[in-house]
Amino acid sequence: MSEDIILQTEGLTKEFAGFAAVGGVDLSVRRGSIHALIGPNGAGKTTCFNLLTKFLSPTSGRIVFNDRDITAMQPADVARLGLVRSFQISAVFPHMTVLENVRIALQRLRGGSLDFWRSKSVLDQYNARALELIDDVGLADYAGWTAVELPYGRKRALEIATTLALDPEMLLLDEPTAGMGHEDIARIAQLIKRVSASRTVLMVEHNLSVVADLSDTITVLTRGRVLAEGDYATVSNNPEVREAYMGVGHA
């Protein structure tokens, strides 16, 4: 059983001044799957995310990644174990070029980041791999651009390229298609599908067609609790879910 489960939470709870944003969530993410976390606004999805990547500390409960208890770990250490997250607001380094953005990740993975006495031209050795990753997400023509100048959808693509540079075992994507136009959504969805071939993806997503299209498993959260879980057909036929969430959002 545990061999198939890459990430598991037991009774995960986070209280803010007595209010339980996340209350006793048991989550099991199967290795190699795309797992979506959905729910109405304020359901606790992003809090849940921040707990999993240790950007918040849980009030109670346990988080196990690859059979290792990560509940008490620091966020940077969790990332080093291969559990890497993205952010709701696009997370790039705005005044660095696309190439430099990706190189920062490669540099962390391959070491030498504390060398303050060496010229940064040593980083040129990562250019080839960085350009490969950039090309992979369709940004080849933008390698020399400053990240802040990229259109929104391209920024998300850059963020994914940077994350993939770490070659993480598991990706946590926080609303990867939020605020995007149609073509961008299609491109990112395709990209997620492609990168999930060799890794596990857990994502928070509002766009239900993307969720339906990509996810193997869906967990529905409301008011900090798990309401339902299963594949799209199961979840979308659940009367409670329809009432709480999909009744409005689902055409």
Partner: protein, 327 residues
């Protein structure tokens, strides 16, 4: 290789490349070095040497505020205690000047490790307050202990013989030594900023949560930057003590911390040459206006306000933005 070509593909609306633009920093460095070599023929070498020490101090401070985004309000601690230990080593232990400077610099580094480890855990105003509190604590310590000479400071510090050979009472020899230390310190800071480590610092300043999510232990990077900055501030203070043959409470008290903020701000935060220009501007002003006595502080305050209100990027920052070059 065609990959090289791709990297250089022009961004949509950057400045047009040219030899002058691409090498603006190198060109300015050469001008500065040549200027400092010929300057003693035109003005007082002692003033220039003191100015270079303060310029190095401001550059060290700028490394922290301009490139990591941390405002330390206690950099007098490293400058002042560097000066004390350098002066003490030269006078009481009779060490040669290079060893005395090394002693002062090492002391500052040690203080940087201790103060940095405490301060780095907090951010923004709390960081500034902790650095200030620790610096004031060390000021009162300086006031009490025998080593510093209390109110008198350490006076008549011998300049000594460099490596036991070269007499630094000779103004020209002293000048060359200070110029060498200043230029070496400046180039070292330039290298730090443009190193793999400097890239990570930049990433942390741009988006710290993202840097953490990529697995960087950002506190470690900040601490190293803090210690480097403190060490270089100590180098500046140590050298100053040998040059002016005095280490006193002025060096370690909080107005000194404020002065370095002002110098950096006037010249331009986060520009490599800004702090140098800023410190020369402030020092020239202090000398020229010494006739008006305490009023100089009022004028300094007015400049500070004008800087923040009118040209926030500082002298060099504004020029660089106008010409769209890096300085």
């Amino acid at each position: 290789m065609d990959t090289q070509f791709e990297i250089k593909a022009a961004p949509p609306h950057g400045a047009s490349p040219s030899v002058w633009r691409d090498n603006s920093e190198t060109i300015l460095f050469v001008i500065m070095a040549v200027g400092l070599i010929v300057a003693p023929f035109f003005t007082y070498p002692l003033f220039l040497m003191e100015a270079m020490c303060f310029a190095l101090f401001a550059c060290a401070f700028n490394l922290l505020i301009g490139y990591v985004g941390l405002l330390s309000f206690g950099h007098a601690l490293y400058f002042g205690w560097g000066a004390y230990l350098s002066a003490y080593a030269a006078k009481s232990w009779g060490l040669t000047p290079e060893l005395a400077i090394l002693t002062g610099t090492a002391t500052a580094a040690l203080c940087g490790v201790v103060a940095g480890s405490l301060a780095i855990r907090r951010q923004g105003i709390y960081f500034a307050m902790i650095t200030l509190a620790l610096a004031q604590m060390m000021y009162f310590f300086a006031l009490q202990v025998k080593l510093t000479g209390g109110e008198d400071g350490i006076q008549a510090v011998p300049r000594g013989f460099l490596f036991g050979l070269i007499d630094l009472r000779n103004e020209a020899a002293m000048y060359v030594v200070v110029l060498a230390i200043f230029l070496a310190g400046f180039l070292f800071i330039y290298r730090i900023i443009h190193s793999p480590f400097g890239e990570v610092l930049k990433a942390i300043r741009e988006n710290e949560p993202r840097a953490i999510s990529l697995g960087y232990k950002t506190e470690r990077y900040k601490l190293i930057a803090f210690v480097l900055s403190a060490t270089l501030a100590g180098l500046a203070g140590s050298t100053k003590a040998i040059v002016v043959q005095l280490a006193s409470l002025t060096d370690v008290n909080w107005p000194m911390s404020g002065e370095v903020v002002l110098m950096t701000l006037v010249g331009g935060l986060g520009t490599i040459f800004g702090p140098i220009v800023g410190s020369f501007v402030i020092l020239v002003m202090q000398y020229k206006l010494s006739v008006v006595g305490e009023w100089v502080l009022v004028i300094q305050g007015a400049i500070f306000v004008a800087c923040v209100l009118l040209f926030r990027r500082g002298v060099i920052g504004e020029i660089a933005a106008k010409l769209r070059i890096k300085l």
